[in-house]
């Protein structure tokens, strides 16, 4: 068991090294995200004029939500994992994994974790800059249960993010070009994951429907626990239950796609 985990630990370490090469790329991407925060600040400040609360939350709480969402994107969001899987299938690089005692999903997930460790730590620099300007506006709740329930939610969100990207990558077994699928899915995830607006601001029925979709648990759910948009531990626990179901469902889909895909796969060359 430990020996088995050790090989993925090694791939995690190699992943850290190779992702440090792209540190400037991640850093600049984080810095560019600050302009997105400026747009959010301008838009929502203007929307709050004459209102002390929107959807029951103050401007400070809404801004905190967006800062947390931005930070989480760099800690748990899937960036280009779908393309990496797709490239390895199209170029035949997965052939080497078929011949080794290594699980491709676990290998890719360890690389994903290393990439997010690097990008997550780097986003803290631009977020700290943003904090200097927004410190009087931000409002994080202090209840300790938010941390204890938020952390498992965060881990499962990372798993959901990665597994969806992995599944899209596996579509390369069937399609030559997956870019349009990926960008369409990204648009849906951006909207229903709560990156465009907090999902609780949607009409109640739509919000209820969104709670049963996997996108809700990709980003919004942990952010809502941390920022107070999910009000009670009972609500968070029920969400964790649905989230766990989605993790199992998506892992099953990934396994099914991998097995079916391998049947179609043809390895050529030596």
């Amino acid at each position: 068991m430990i020996a088995s985990l050790n090989k993925y630990w090694q791939s995690f370490l190699v992943g850290i090294q190779s992702n440090i090469v792209y540190r400037w790329n991640f850093f600049l991407r984080g810095l560019f995200s600050l302009t997105h925060l400026i747009v959010i600040y301008a838009l929502w400040s203007a929307a709050y004029q004459g209102h002390s609360a929107i959807g029951g939350f103050s401007l400070g709480q809404t801004l905190t939500y967006f800062v947390v969402i931005l930070t989480l994107q760099f800690f748990i969001g899937a960036f280009n994992e779908d393309y990496q899987v797709s490239e390895e299938i199209r170029n035949g690089l997965i052939n080497q994994f078929l011949l080794k005692p290594i699980n491709y999903f676990s290998y890719r997930f360890s690389i994903f974790l290393s990439a997010r460790t690097v990008s997550g730590l780097l986003i803290l620099i631009p977020v700290s800059i943003a904090y200097l300007f927004l410190r009087h506006d931000l409002a994080l709740p202090h209840e300790s249960w938010r941390l204890w329930l938020g952390l498992p939610a965060l881990l499962m969100s990372a798993l959901i993010q990665f597994t969806i990207a992995y599944c899209f990558g596996l579509l390369s077994f069937w399609f030559l070009e997956i870019q349009s699928f990926v960008i369409l899915s990204y648009a849906i995830e951006t909207l229903l994951g709560g990156q465009v607006f907090p999902l609780d601001l949607m009409p109640h029925l739509l919000y209820r429907i969104s709670q049963y979709l996997p996108y809700f648990y990709q980003m919004y759910f942990p952010a809502a626990i941390f920022t107070g948009r999910i009000a009670t531990p009972a609500e968070a626990l029920s969400g964790l239950g649905i989230q766990a179901c989605w993790v199992v469902a998506l892992l099953s889909i990934a396994t099914l796609l991998w097995r079916r895909g391998l049947r179609r796969h043809t390895a050529v060359g030596g």
């Binding site: 400037w24 790329n25 600049l28 991407r29 560019f32 302009t35 997105h36 400026i38 747009v39 301008a42 838009l43 400040s45 203007a46 929307a47 709050y48 004029q49 004459g50 209102h51 929107i54 959807g55 070009e177 349009s180 699928f181 960008i183 369409l184 648009a187 849906i188 951006t190 909207l191 465009v196 607006f197 601001l201 949607m202 009409p203």
Partner: protein
């Protein structure tokens, strides 16, 4: 080379691009859907915010929708006409394939900018136009022919601003080779085009309204339909477009001098 020759080259490229899109119909359909969905995301944001408030910086829901529609027309035209070309310019400079464009008998900027068009982007510009028409209808606006003509002229001037900004960003590749992802800066900049200029205050207003051209590129054309024509606004937009175009062309030409190919 005469202007008509350039027009013929562009038409030939457009014809080739449309034939290609029709050959990969599923791909064309998917990309059309992708662009359509991204537009829907922006419209939904407006819808959700105005569920809870009646005004953003003095702009009503349909005024804001008209502004967002205008911004979407500009971005769809950019996507349809220039995005792929300029995106590939960066990649070609890195790989050395840019040589191919330098060998062509025509102005290098024109040749790199018009090699192909993306019909899905152009098709979705009609959806964006429909959003503007719907918003104008909801606002009870009845613009005359002259107002509409001025709106179109201002859109083209704003398109020059968008084009210049992207060309300027991509031209950085001549100096810094490792610029993969730099084109994302275009989207970061023009995210501001969905904001009313009144929403930005203080330093942010100085930078994003008067310094960088993102906000006025959408606000000035939208204002013609909402509040009527203001010559000073048109002059402002024209001067800004001319200045940014001149800077972008100058930077491209300076970059061209540095270019030394990458092949062996």
């Amino acid at each position: 080379m005469k202007l008509t020759h350039y027009a013929r080259i562009w038409l030939a490229s457009a014809r080739y691009s449309i034939i290609r899109a029709m050959m990969f119909r599923f791909d064309f359909l998917m990309w059309t859907l992708v662009e359509f969905f991204w537009m829907a995301v922006n419209i939904l944001l407006i819808g959700v915010i105005y569920e809870h408030t009646s005004s953003i910086a003095g702009w009503t829901k349909y005024q804001m929708l008209l502004l967002v529609g205008t911004s979407m027309i500009l971005q769809r035209l950019m996507m349809g006409l220039f995005w792929s070309n300029l995106f590939e310019l960066g990649r070609n400079v890195r790989s050395g394939q840019f040589d191919f464009f330098l060998c062509q008998p025509g102005n290098p900027i024109f040749m790199v900018s018009t090699r192909k068009i993306d019909p899905d982007g152009l098709l979705n510009s009609f959806v964006a136009i429909a959003v503007v028409i719907y918003s104008a209808h909801q606002l009870g606006l009845h613009p005359g022919i002259i107002d509409i003509a001025l709106y179109i002229v201002l859109l083209f001037i704003s398109l020059v601003i968008h084009y210049s900004a992207l060309l300027l960003i991509i031209s950085a590749t001549f100096w810094i080779i490792g610029t993969q992802g730099i084109e994302g800066g275009y989207f970061n900049l023009f995210e501001f085009s969905r904001l009313p200029k009144e929403a930005l205050r203080g330093v942010a207003s100085l930078i994003f309204v008067y310094g960088l051209p993102a906000v006025i590129a959408s606000n000035v054309p939208a204002n013609v339909l909402i509040h009527g024509f203001k010559p000073t606004y048109m002059l402002w937009l024209t001067v800004v477009a001319a200045a940014w175009f001149a800077i972008a062309v100058w930077c491209f030409k300076r970059g061209l001098r540095r270019y030394s190919s990458a092949s062996s």
